[in-house]
């Protein structure tokens, strides 16, 4: 069923003015009218709780306020949602994990970890289409009712209470950690996958991109020896293999029809790359260097000349610290140092590694070069202290 699940104009009018200062506005005005479930219904009660979460989200320090990015993602969501465009409100949050979530009242959270991991617009569109699928199929209310009718009702309420409070960040973190928010059943996930797949096909995107992204993210998560819980997808979605296989098979069936498709790469990079450095840094600081190595290697395979990606890959190797990783780090830093647009931090990293390896002359040269390029670096006092010691 694809019944529209919508929201209250009065409550969300201020929100629209915040979110919709972009090209999506015009399109939203053409979508079908908005309504909300009766407050006497269980669905209405659920919406009220979620609206509290939405208010917290609007105040979250994690909210990304870049107008161009917000306009881009909102416009993409709007195109994918079609006539239901006005029912979906996009919030981009600077959280480095791979995720997007759809709440029953139409609030969509897009994490920067997803934007960093998608290689092109087609991949992003697939995930967003998948989430819109959950919304249009009203999977949340189905899960709510199922929980209510079983002994897990209290657990569900507990989750809702946490979400409704001020603890949004903890809520997000807990949801990610427990997989609670992904607790759709496998049939629902398949339905959402169908939505995502159909959405990108309908909009002329390369249909193989959905499977490509799932596979890459699964590989990344499984590179982490500390990840004891099943990966995001294995936990509650159809099995990763089944999912990739199914999507791949359907993609090739579509491709066999020789329809011309696009991956939307150019526009995607134009929007994402100016913002990416911050997300790469946040990903690196997530403290999961095994996953960062897998991610940065994949991104670098598509942009072999990127000094920025070479630098971050080197940092990820350095932080992972497995046998041979420091050599790989030096190799990546040296490769970056020889490229255009090299970050000054490359020379700091080279200098510090050389210092730890007892290569005093090389260390001194690199650290001096770092400070020459960035004399007001926030760690300049420490670097000068090191130089004096060498």
């Amino acid at each position: 069923m694809t019944r529209l699940a919508v929201t209250c104009c009065a409550v969300l009018a201020p929100l629209f003015s915040i979110i919709l200062g972009n090209p999506a506005v015009a399109q939203m005005q053409n979508s079908i009218p908005i309504f909300r479930p009766s407050l006497n219904s269980d669905e209405g009660g659920l919406w009220m709780a979620v609206e509290e979460i939405e208010k917290d989200t609007q105040r979250s320090p994690l909210l990304v306020d870049d107008e161009t990015l917000n306009a881009y993602v909102t416009d993409l969501v709007c195109r994918l949602a079609g006539r239901n465009c006005a029912s979906v409100r996009v919030y981009i949050l600077e959280i480095p994990v791979f995720n997007a979530t759809m709440y029953p009242n139409g609030m969509m959270n897009v994490f920067t970890g997803l934007l960093l991991r998608a290689e092109n617009e087609a991949q992003l569109a697939f995930v967003l289409g998948h989430e819109i699928g959950h919304f249009l199929e009203r999977h949340s209310i189905q899960g709510f009712r199922k929980a209510r009718d079983t002994n897990s009702f209290l657990a569900f309420l507990s989750l809702g209470a946490a979400g409704a409070g001020v603890n949004y960040v903890a809520d997000a973190a807990n949801m990610i950690a427990t997989g609670a928010f992904y607790a759709f059943n496998r049939d629902q996930e398949r339905q959402a996958d169908v939505h995502g797949f159909n959405a990108i096909v309908a909009h002329g995107y390369d249909p193989i991109q959905g499977a490509e992204l799932w596979k890459a993210v699964i590989d990344e998560q499984e590179a982490n020896p500390r990840r004891r819980a099943p990966s995001t997808f294995a936990a509650t979605h159809p099995s990763p293999e089944e999912r990739v296989r199914s999507l791949t098979q359907r993609a090739y069936e579509i491709k066999a029809q020789s329809k011309e498709t696009t991956d939307g790469l150019e526009r995607f990079r134009e929007i994402i790359q100016p913002l990416r450095s911050q997300w790469l840094e946040t990903e690196l600081n997530r403290g999961e260097p095994e996953e960062s190595v897998a991610l940065f290697s994949r991104l670098l395979s598509n942009e072999t000349e990127s000094a920025e990606l070479q630098y971050y890959l080197g940092e990820a190797y350095r932080k992972r610290g497995e046998e041979g990783d420091l050599d790989k780090a030096v190799e990546a830093f040296e490769s970056a140092a020889g490229s255009d647009g090299v970050p000054a931090q490359v020379h700091r990293s080279l200098g510090l590694l050389a210092m730890k390896n007892g290569k005093k002359v090389a260390a001194r040269d690199s650290l001096i070069r770092y400070l020459a390029l960035q004399p007001e670096a926030d760690d300049h006092e420490m670097i000068r202290f090191y130089i004096d010691q060498l």
Partner: protein, 191 residues
């Protein structure tokens, strides 16, 4: 030694009713770990947990400000251990670390505790008692969505790490107490 590794039960630091408080007198030198003392400057509440050997102080309450003492953290051990978590859930201190690595160790520890946007900056040399140490600033968004600022001073000796970490709500409390905390840091000395 492991007993000096701080075991935090209700971390960053969403501590709650499990804590017991003891007054730290402002004018009495206070031992931190087995070999160091500091001058508290003002009255603090020392927070104790049933299974904790480290030290944690607060002025206004744990939700607003916290001063952690991580003393004699051994190589191969984490700064923070959470009961019930796997041994490798937190990053380890390593003897080969230099100041930049220790700063990253603190960043990663705070991130794995569930904080977001953890960023350490302004790494600079600092005296840690008679030893050469280093200091840096921190900002992060806590699990509760609070913007938190921090100040950390640390020093390495043989294969052990000593670090004092002050965290407080950016709004009002951090700047209010930073001068006191800097005096506490400046008072670090051998017992």
């Amino acid at each position: 030694m492991w007993k000096r590794c701080f075991t935090v039960l209700c971390v960053t630091f969403g501590l709650s009713g499990c804590a017991a408080y003891v007054l730290v007198e402002p004018d009495q030198p206070a031992a931190i770990g087995a070999e160091l003392v500091v001058d508290p400057q003002v009255s603090w509440a020392r927070v104790a947990y049933p299974t904790t050997n480290g030290s944690l102080w607060t002025i206004d309450g744990l939700g607003l400000n916290q001063l952690y003492f991580f003393t004699e953290v051994e190589a191969g051990k984490p700064m923070v251990r959470i009961q019930g978590q796997a041994k490798d859930a937190m990053p380890f201190y390593e003897e080969s670390m230099i100041a930049t690595d220790v700063m990253e160790l603190v960043e990663t520890t705070l991130t794995r505790l569930g904080n977001q946007q953890v960023e350490a900056t302004n790494l600079r040399p600092a005296k840690f008692g008679p030893r050469n140490g280093f200091q840096f600033d921190l900002t992060m968004t806590s699990q509760g969505g609070l913007i938190v600022k921090g100040l950390c001073i640390a020093a390495q000796r043989d294969d052990e790490l000593d670090a004092l970490l002050f965290l407080a709500a950016e709004e009002y409390y951090y700047e209010l107490h930073r001068p006191v905390v800097e005096k506490v840091f400046a008072s670090i000395r051998p017992e």
